[in-house]
């Protein structure tokens, strides 16, 4: 009996019998592809950001030093776009997390037609951003043909020209509508995973509906909320299609975020150097946000 135990070779020796370098060698193809995929564009962007490089003005070329960056930070559009980016991200996060949580709790209650309601609530997520933005622009928010306008008129009110009067708020509404299902989906699964005996224990302890929500449900959801915030932030920093098909960054620069600013520099003004400088700023910004988010969320996920 003892013999059979000692006979079996420890599994480790099989793995370590091969030299480490072979393992590394086998990793090489993926590493090379990843490097080409990520590092090359990054380095090229960095490189262009230090060059005079304008597609309609090939005469002025060559090393620009920090000129592209100087133009960028002295351009009022840049600071407005930075502000717009943060307002957009922050507002959409607040709207989706607050309404996502409330809807998740609501959809966890039994009511007739719940399954259909769930599917309906989640379906906006499957509509591509350009399409949903166009739907909002032409079918809902258009002052003449839109539903909102029709409703306003039926109450005898003047229809609102949303994209002219409240451009950023309109974009925020569209993007929130797109991302609410995502938040709802994640938060609903989290609500469903709450041990119902915990809520019953709270009921026995004298917690009403609101106290149960505040003391039991919300703490239980905190992890899921962190995940929603983290993932949404990453995607919301780069919102572009919705702006492109509705306001094109306007009126003026009212809805220009960083992503749209870079696009405008590169493909409307053909200033590759300036666009690259903006791109580098965007990367730095994204990394700063990611750093703080990951750190705070990693701490929360430990619990």
């Amino acid at each position: 009996m003892d013999a059979s135990v000692t006979e079996a070779p420890p599994v480790e020796t099989v793995a370590t019998a091969m030299p480490r370098s072979v393992g590394r060698l086998l990793l090489l193809p993926s590493v090379v592809v990843l490097l080409a995929w990520m590092i090359v564009p990054l380095v090229m962007t960095l490189w262009f950001s230090f060059q005079y490089y304008n597609l309609i003005n090939p005469e002025t070329a060559g090393f620009a030093g920090l000129d592209n960056y100087r133009y960028l930070v002295t351009d009022p559009d840049f600071w407005v776009s930075l502000e717009n980016t943060l307002i957009l991200v922050g507002s959409v996060l607040v709207v989706t997390v607050v309404f996502g949580t409330l809807l998740a709790v609501l959809f966890n209650q039994p009511f007739p037609g719940r399954n259909i309601a769930r599917v309906l609530a989640i379906s906006p997520f499957f509509v591509m951003p350009t399409v949903s933005a166009l739907i909002w622009k032409n079918l809902l928010m258009h002052p003449i043909y839109g539903v909102f306008g029709a409703v306003a008129r039926s109450f005898g009110r003047q229809p609102v020209d949303w994209f002219a009067d409240y451009p950023l708020a309109s974009i925020i509404a569209i993007v929130s509508w797109e991302w609410l299902p995502f938040a709802l989906l994640i938060l609903l699964t989290a609500v469903q995973s709450l041990d119902h005996e915990q809520r019953e224990a709270a009921r026995m302890d004298g917690a009403g509906v609101i106290a149960q929500f505040v003391f039991i449900t919300l703490p239980h959801l905190s992890r899921a909320i962190s995940v929603v915030v983290m993932i949404e932030t990453i995607f919301l920093l780069t919102v572009f299609a919705e702006i492109f098909v509705t306001t094109s960054g306007g009126p003026g620069n009212a809805t220009t975020n960083l992503a749209f600013l870079i696009y405008a520099r590169a493909l409307l003004q053909y200033d590759i150097g300036g666009a690259s400088a903006g791109g580098i700023v965007a990367i730095v910004l994204a990394n700063i946000v990611a750093f703080f988010l990951v750190r705070s969320i990693a701490r929360r996920l430990e619990v």
Binding site: D195, E197, Q198, E200, A201, A202, R203, M204, D205, G206, A207, A211, F215, I216, P219, H220, S222, V303
Partner: protein, 367 residues
């Protein structure tokens, strides 16, 4: 002071009746155990008392007041759940003080009560820990502590020990009995484990498919089971059941004939049973003795030696399985053929309907 009265209590889920009319009176400071097989409705009944399930029919009174429509927090009860249901993001102290915090009890008083409960349950070193950093037994005690802190009139327990290992279960049984004595409160305890019921209860309520089969003290149920179900459910190892017919029905007892033809006089009233009627003879495993001169013979199929005790699993004539509990020092081995004598006082007779026929005398410990 807390008495409970259940009057024809009923519960249905849709058309499916789970609790089928339960009448029960629970006295002040009594330790009552609801016991029954899994799915018989014990938890549902307890949750109806707690107020977590609506009552479909009948009446529930606490201290003489009808509470059918009183919310769970206002019935003066506290419940300990099977999964403990501790709040994972709160410390032990916050868990135990949660009810008081909701009731806006000042912090100083809250802390005093929590400390007191922690002392009773020996939880003082763990007050600042989170539930995930506690062992199963400690979590169990926190759940009990959460109930104690509220100073309820009635404690409700739903299978609180079923997630603990055997050793800890034994220890917690003793601790719960001690707690019952110390707190002087009414306790209702649900379990499927008849050992927990036997060891802790003042009064056992045996349930089956939403009905009460019998109510009585542990030894009452053990020595005077009302029917086949209770006889089979209470007691471990299980009572042996042998088919028999009534041979003679006298005033001083009954003589039954076993399938093998042997006759046995038992001190049980025959009541309406007539000679020739089929009955079931029940004999507890400790009511049988190895005796070469005994009237029964059987083959030993398996011997379980527990040290102090030995369990013999037997095959009697007629392919009848039986269990006998004997002294650990007995040398009987598997595949022996043995004779068995029957202790007539430890026998029971059940009519065809399953109802028990009454003994001529009561067991001295079964009041």
């Amino acid at each position: 002071m807390a008495t409970l009265t259940l009057r024809d209590l009923r519960k249905s889920y849709g058309n499916f009746e789970v609790i089928k009319g339960i009448d029960l009176a629970i006295a002040d400071k009594e330790f009552v155990v609801f016991v029954g097989p899994s799915g018989c409705g014990k938890s549902t009944l307890l949750r109806m008392i707690a107020g977590l399930e609506d009552i479909t029919g009948g009446e529930l009174q606490i201290d003489g007041r009808r509470v059918n429509h009183v919310g769970p927090a206002d019935r003066g009860l506290a419940m300990v759940f099977q999964t403990y249901a501790l709040y994972p993001h709160m410390t032990v102290r916050q868990n135990m003080g949660f009810a008081l915090r909701l009731a806006r009890v000042p912090k100083a008083e809250r802390d005093r009560k929590v400390d007191e409960a922690a002392r009773i349950l020996q939880l003082e070193p763990y007050l600042e820990r989170r539930p995930k950093d506690l062992s199963g037994g400690q979590r169990q005690r926190v759940a009990i502590g959460r109930a104690i802190v509220r100073q309820p009139k009635v404690f409700l327990f739903d299978e609180p020990l079923s997630n603990l290992d055997a050793a800890l279960r034994g220890q917690m049984r003793i601790e719960l009995s001690r707690l019952h004595e110390e707190l002087n409160a009414t306790m209702i305890y649900v379990t499927h484990d008849q050992i927990e019921a036997m060891t802790m209860a003042d009064k056992i309520v045996v349930l089956q498919s939403g009905r009460v089969e019998q109510v009585g003290s542990p030894l009452d149920l053990y020595h005077h089971p009302a029917n086949l179900f209770v006889a089979g459910f209470i007691g471990s190892p299980r009572m042996n059941f042998l088919p028999a017919t009534v041979a003679e029905a006298g005033s001083r007892g009954t003589i039954v004939a076993l399938a093998s033809g042997q006759r046995l006089a038992v001190p049980i009233e025959a009541r309406s049973a007539r000679p020739g009627d089929p009955v079931t003879l029940g004999i507890r495993p400790e009511g049988l003795h190895v005796d070469p001169a005994g009237p029964l013979t059987a083959d030993v199929t398996l011997v379980e030696r527990l040290g102090g005790l030995t369990l013999l699993h037997l095959k009697a004539p007629g392919d009848q399985d039986m269990t006998v509990q004997i002294e650990g020092s007995d040398p009987t081995r598997a595949h022996d053929r043995i004779g068995l004598s029957v202790d007539p006082g430890a026998t029971h007779l059940f009519e065809k309907s399953g109802q028990a026929l009454p003994h001529l005398g009561r067991h001295p410990l079964a009041a």
